[in-house]
């Protein structure tokens, strides 16, 4: 019988406690960040550093490759968990003048294909960490909707693939003549 009344008291006290918590939260500042559709995209692109207050410091948006710094090591391609980075790299000609990435690493490979399929990308940023020259980055760009699916395949490579070596004529196979 005593429990009957203590139960009632407990119900009132716990409901009051819960209501105090929710009332406190009603007057707390919200954590939601509004979608900044009205911001000019150029403003976001001024620097690749995420602007203060606009996005979270660790926001992960569209990938970008500074192709001038790329040494074609394919470490990002290996790191990608869903294989949406496609890289083809050829050896540079010995005669060409040596070029270097902005941090001084010698570029010994010619990157002829560096494609990222953003329809597959899961924005995990695992490709960003292994890059030795910091050339693949997550940008603050989040408005890149397209009406054609193919436009999501971002092609970063500038070098043309070297022309395929002319095929040699296959040597005529000696035909066995007669003989027992």
């Amino acid at each position: 019988m005593r429990k009957y009344f203590t139960d009632m008291l407990e119900a009132v006290v716990t409901v009051a406690k819960g209501m105090a918590v929710t009332l406190r939260h009603i007057f707390m500042p919200s954590v939601t960040q509004q979608y900044q559709a009205d911001e000019k995209p150029e403003e976001r692109w001024k620097s690749l550093i995420v602007p203060e207050g606009l996005l979270n410091a660790r926001s992960r948006m569209r990938l970008h490759v500074k192709i001038e710094d790329c040494i074609g090591c394919k470490q990002c391609e290996k790191a990608c968990p869903i294989d949406c980075i496609y890289i083809t790299a050829d050896k540079r000609d010995k005669e060409e003048a040596p070029i270097f990435a902005s941090d001084g690493t010698a570029i010994k490979l010619k990157v002829t294909q560096f494609d990222i399929d953003m329809t597959l990308c899961c924005y995990c940023a695992l490709c960003v960490y292994p890059c030795p020259t910091d050339c693949i980055v997550m940008t603050p760009e989040y408005e890149f909707a397209e009406s054609v699916k193919g436009n999501f395949l971002y092609r970063f490579a500038k070098e043309k693939p070297s022309p395929p070596e002319p095929k040699k004529e296959p040597e005529p196979v000696p035909v066995a003549v007669g003989g027992e």
Partner: protein, 379 residues
């Protein structure tokens, strides 16, 4: 990228939201000036209408006012509820349509108007179409006796409390009808739960109403408010401490249950029954259920204010604010408390719901009635 539509939106929306806010301010002003407006209207009727038609015209105007208010109130209340919900969860809620999303409910309403009206082929055609109107009618009709100010009531019934209790139960039939006619197991579950819930919670509601009625000696809602004249401590909630305070809490809990609000929203329990009794409804018929729910919220809060919180009486014995505005403010506060509770408490289980009513609320209400009856005996 800013599209052309967005540009047009950005130009038009501030204007519309400003207009809506001016309209809302005008409505509150109208509520504040309701005694004067009513006096003016009755003078106009006396001057222009033949005597035989006068009561009918006055009632018609009252009905128009109630229907107009009840069509606009849910639009505000839905937006307000979404805002309260969002801020309770540290979100922002609707922000896009107009200033802080004030036009969101209008947008939703227009969407519902244009939606296809689907009636299940296997369902009961007539009952399915009839149910939403019955639910709305039950809620709207109860407003006829809700006193907004001294003498400001559509119909001054001397059995007002009995009328509210009786006509308020029309909801249950409508909800059960909707659940049955949908020919859907979830709808039927929702309807049956609603019937069980409302039949059970009707008892403590009426018993706590009686606690006030034995002190007043009248079933007229006007008389009940007039009995609370003379400042804060003449309100029933503070009289005969703690009997009336507990009665108020019990009445408010039962009100939550009768309007199917969380934590008693078992008839529409979205995580168990899809949407309960209105699963099969779409478009305007669905909107009618929404309208009725928010109307019922206001009705229950208004009734609690009339019975326990002094109706249009102020904190001081002669308040500087118009009584109608005081009534509206108190009712809106209770509506806020309903929303606050909704976003605090989880839903009860069916057996817990029944246990709460039959094991706790009904014995408490009976005890309160007996105590209040003895204490208000003429000595």
């Amino acid at each position: 990228m800013i599209t052309r539509t967005r540009q047009i939106e950005m130009k038009i929306l501030p204007v519309i939201s400003a207009a809506v806010m001016v309209g809302a301010a005008g409505l509150i002003g109208l509520i504040a000036a309701l005694p004067a407006v009513a006096g003016l209207l009755s003078a106009l009727i006396d001057a222009n209408v033949p005597e035989a038609l006068r009561p009918a015209v006055a009632r018609g105007l009252g009905v128009a006012a109630v229907v107009g208010f009840l069509s606009l109130f849910p639009i505000f209340a839905i937006w307000f509820e979404r805002k309260v919900a969002a801020h309770t969860q540290d979100r922002l809620g609707p922000m896009r349509v107009g200033w802080h999303g004030v036009l969101q409910s209008f947008a939703d309403g227009i969407k519902l108007l244009f939606k296809e009206d689907i009636v299940p082929k296997q369902g009961d055609q007539i009952l399915f179409r009839l149910a939403p109107y019955l639910v709305v009618a039950g809620t709207f009709a109860a407003f006829a006796v809700l006193p907004w100010g001294d003498g400001l009531v559509v119909s001054d019934l001397n059995i007002g409390v009995l009328y509210v209790v009786a006509i308020g139960s029309l909801n249950t039939i409508g909800i059960l009808m909707a659940g049955w006619a949908s020919n859907n197991k979830y709808s039927l579950f929702g309807g049956m739960r609603s019937a069980a819930q409302l039949v059970s919670y009707e008892i403590p509601t009426i018993l706590t109403l009686l606690v006030v009625i034995v002190q007043v000696g009248s079933l007229n809602l006007q008389d009940i408010v007039l009995a609370q004249q003379g400042g804060l401590f003449h309100w029933f909630i503070f009289r005969m401490f703690p009997v009336n305070l507990i009665a108020f809490v019990v009445f408010f809990i039962c009100g939550l249950a009768e309007t199917n609000r969380t934590p008693f929203d078992l008839p529409e329990a979205e995580s168990e029954l899809v949407a309960g009794f209105h699963t099969e409804y779409s478009g305007m018929r669905f909107a009618f259920f929404f309208l009725a729910e928010y109307g019922a919220m206001f009705l229950v809060s208004g009734l609690a204010v009339v019975l326990f919180l002094g109706g249009w009486q102020g904190v001081l014995s002669s308040p500087p604010v118009p009584g109608t505005l005081l009534f509206f403010a108190k009712t809106m506060f209770l509506v806020f408390v309903q929303m606050w509770l909704r976003w605090t408490l989880p839903r009860l289980r069916v057996d817990q719901l029944m246990a709460m009513c039959w094991k706790y609320l009904i014995p408490i209400a009976f005890a309160l009635l007996i105590v209040a009856g003895f204490l208000s005996l003429p000595s």
